[in-house]
Amino acid sequence: MLADHRAAGYNSSVSSITPSIQVKVLFFGRLKEVVGGAEELVDITPGSSIEDLFATFVARQPELARYRRSLVASRNQEFAAWSTPLQPGDEIAFLPPVSGG
């Protein structure tokens, strides 16, 4: 599905393919270990929120659901509400409780 983003980006005009936008998703800490990767490009329906994006990962890996309440999200390096709508090219990260210092 990732190979097809040429046809789906914000430059495309009317397309017969279901439109989608692409965002970059980052995982950190224990979440990175559960997902099994630090970074992924995802095509998702325009108008989707950060919450919708997380739901696509839960659909693929149901055990992620139990982490949802102990995560915060960021959009383009700023903490963001889960209802925030995604824009093409966004960098979204799912962040476990921070423990620096």
């Binding site: 102990s70 915060v72 409780p97 210092g101």
Partner: protein
Amino acid sequence: MSTPPSSDLILLVRNVIDADALINHVRTAGDGAIVTFDGCVRNQSHGRRTLYLDYEAYESMALAKMREIAAEVHAKFPIDRVAVAHRLGRLEIGETSVFIAVSAPHRAAAFDACRFAIDTLKRSVPIWKKEYFEDGAVWADGELPPVPQDTQSRKRAS
């Protein structure tokens, strides 16, 4: 009057933090006080003997948040300069994971600003530590940073 944050020094490093360099960075002729915080790796956690720690960060965001903290420190306290360095990767017992230096004309502001800086860093900078014990490893319990509230009004029609 506050020095603009451009004179601050904000770093993520992968080797030993040079505390003297940070202290010298904030030292100016107009300052009567420099307060430092040295956060170091403890040998135990909840009674279990710690072998070492491994820190990771969302680096671009962590640097941005550390710069925001420095700017907030300038806005809140009559201080001169701020230097903050956080180390990433594997750290042994006793090594410094985070070092903060704040200079000010008078000591009270420097103490208050340094305390505010470390407390805010621990709560809002995306850095994580994994604790390694003799019988396994765990991600340290952390704090959930404050996040803008979810509101339906922010949802756009698609």
